[in-house]
Symmetry: C2
Subunit: 380 residues, 2 copies
């Protein structure tokens, strides 16, 4: 089953009564509508600047806000190290355009984020896998252009790399000549425990300064404030940022002016509060999903226990096929994403990605029970 | 002088008292701020949909509005033939990504739009020139991937292709196997005379239907409503649109939801009125610029007399160099874009692009007089 066929199947999700664990999108009830209404009114109050063309680098106050945020997360930088993008997806695309040529070696975990693979695939890299195990990076790659990682609450597994694994990643990047792409889409959604230092922060610590480092951090407001404005950023060494800015200019001139001005105002007013609420809501849902899996999952089924993010990753006994299971699931009014979609090589069919972000506890319980019943029938 | 150096020089334009003919951006006084304020308030009134992820194709009501607009301009199509992009610049980038490989032959007029060259150059095409003369397309190209044209009030020349030239372009595209990119950024800004049929419309007329045609029309609201939202579109045959939609998804998922919803409302409420006002304002400024050139230009200087758009293209005696002239112009507090920037092969140095979009009549008169004095001194 190809990614496009799965997408077609997932379009059925709008059916009434459908319980969808497929999405991975934020709950719109968390968007601070009032703050956005006020911000749009304010930036449009005086003159047409918010509606005019603007620079490719992005809106300076937003870049300064993000630089301060990055510093608070251990990344010593200034606004000159920040390029505003149309979501972190565009960050990945710009980086792919700069670094990836046909046959370039691109190192990722398998599974990894589908959208990153789509974005890089336009430039035809040669995907190579790395595994982190007991603080060691296991791979046979000796030279590479990019090392792509979602270190916190990864899409699709929900797993987080340890400090030792992050350091091993930096070491691997050095050895192979790769630039690291740190996709931080879910980093803020930590439900418990201490933050693990960002790869970008560890890299700067080791290399002495951001301009000596080799990490491009891709950030986004999509999972913290709201995704519909398409505002994200790349933070990294000046020399690379300047090249990426020219590529951004050629790609779409600049990120929508009005949305940058609004995002700056909303972030300045209520970023911390928004993150706190999102953590609280998603934690309750993750707990409900883990409880239901504990209660109903047949023997032989395993799953991750993420400390944050939006996803739990289920491993089925190897004879089961996630894509075939999805067809039956949709008939019973629930859905998920089959794991094969997250592997560059088309393997991983006995996995499922479950998102808990959109549904109330009782619905999660009901849907997981249906899923586990279906799995049990298939195993019988 | 390279494009990046010219950009650096043009950054001086914010100096107080500077008369800039360099821009080519719309006058923000024309933006209907009130309509935008109301539209943002409305789409944010009820729920968070405007702030949520949305489909890569774009917001259906906006796609329907655009399809109706395209039909009113002679392009028989439905919303299925419309893909919303982050400005028409992104339309060019997506098309480049789909069609251009290193060494692909890309046919353009020389001079042509700098941003298109930047956008296509990422994919390393082999630029080949075409000239239209008495309804004939003059070129030695026998096979090509793309034929890129700005048929109405072109950037940088202000010139418009005749019906015969457009038909010759379609014929050339057929013969060479090329897809036509019709960049319609300025099409609506006609000050006088009858509309010339769109290439997309002529192509459909000849080929029988849009799905049999080979034209990708790149539209934008940047020159009619406002550029800061980054909302444009591609209109073309379904088979190509589907591929472009997947590329759009990989590039940045979708165009900002909120801006699409707002653009739909503003377009539905006041597109015709906005266009009418823009035409009126820019016509007065074009007239002022042409009058000043007539009054002050030394012998040997020639310029185009565009029926619309934002630009006049000046041809200097061949011993003069536009880039060197710009350095002296900036010292005297006025500026323009040297023509060399619009030629893929680095020629065209004895041209200047002048935009009349941003300045009141008296300032235009003053700036053109300074320009003509400088040219006269250089020729002396």
């Amino acid at each position: 089953m190809r990614a496009s066929e799965i997408r077609e199947l997932l379009k059925l999700l709008d059916r009434p009564g459908m319980i969808s664990f497929a999405g991975g999108i934020p709950d719109p009830a968390l968007f601070n509508l009032q703050a956005y209404r006020e911000a749009y009114a304010e930036v449009l109050a005086e003159n047409g600047n918010a509606l005019q063309y603007s620079t490719s680098e992005g809106y300076p106050p937003l870049r300064r806000w993000i630089a301060e945020y990055m510093r608070s997360r251990g990344v010593e930088c200034t606004e000159d190290h920040i390029l505003i993008t149309h979501g972190s997806q565009q960050g990945l695309d710009l980086i792919g355009k700069l670094f990836v040529d046909p046959e370039s070696e691109l190192v990722t975990l398998a599974p990894t984020y589908l959208g990153a693979l789509q974005s890089f695939s336009a430039y035809e890299p040669d995907y190579r896998a790395v595994r982190f195990h007991n603080g060691v990076a296991e791979t046979n790659v000796t030279a590479a252009k990019l090392l792509y990682l979602v270190p916190d609450f990864a899409n699709p597994t929900g797993e987080t790399l340890t400090v030792a694994e992050r350091k091993a990643a930096i070491d691997l990047a050095r050895r192979t000549g790769a630039v690291i792409v740190e996709d931080a889409a879910y980093t803020e959604l930590r439900f418990e425990g201490e933050r693990v230092p960002l790869i970008a922060a560890l890299d700067i610590e080791e290399s002495g300064s951001i301009d000596e480092s080799r990490t491009l951090f891709c950030g986004t407001f999509s999972k913290t404030l709201a995704p519909g404005l398409r505002v994200g950023w790349i933070c990294g060494p000046t020399a690379l940022l300047q090249k990426l800015t020219l590529i951004k200019q050629a790609s779409d001139l600049h990120t929508a002016t009005v949305n940058q001005q609004v995002t700056y105002r909303v972030a300045a007013a209520c970023f911390d509060k928004a993150v706190e609420e999102a953590r609280k809501v998603y934690k309750v849902r993750r707990d409900a999903m883990l409880r239901a899996l504990d209660a109903y999952a047949p023997a032989g089924v395993e799953w991750t226990k993420p400390s944050g993010g939006l996803f739990i990753w289920v491993t089925l006994p190897s004879q089961l096929d996630g894509a075939k299971l999805l067809e039956k699931a949709v008939e019973r009014n629930f859905a998920f994403v089959p794991g094969g979609a997250f592997y560059p090589d088309g393997s991983g069919n006995n996995h499922l990605r479950l998102s808990f972000s959109l549904l109330p506890e009782e619905t999660i319980e009901k849907g997981i029970r249906s899923l586990c019943e279906l799995i049990a029938e298939e195993l019988a």
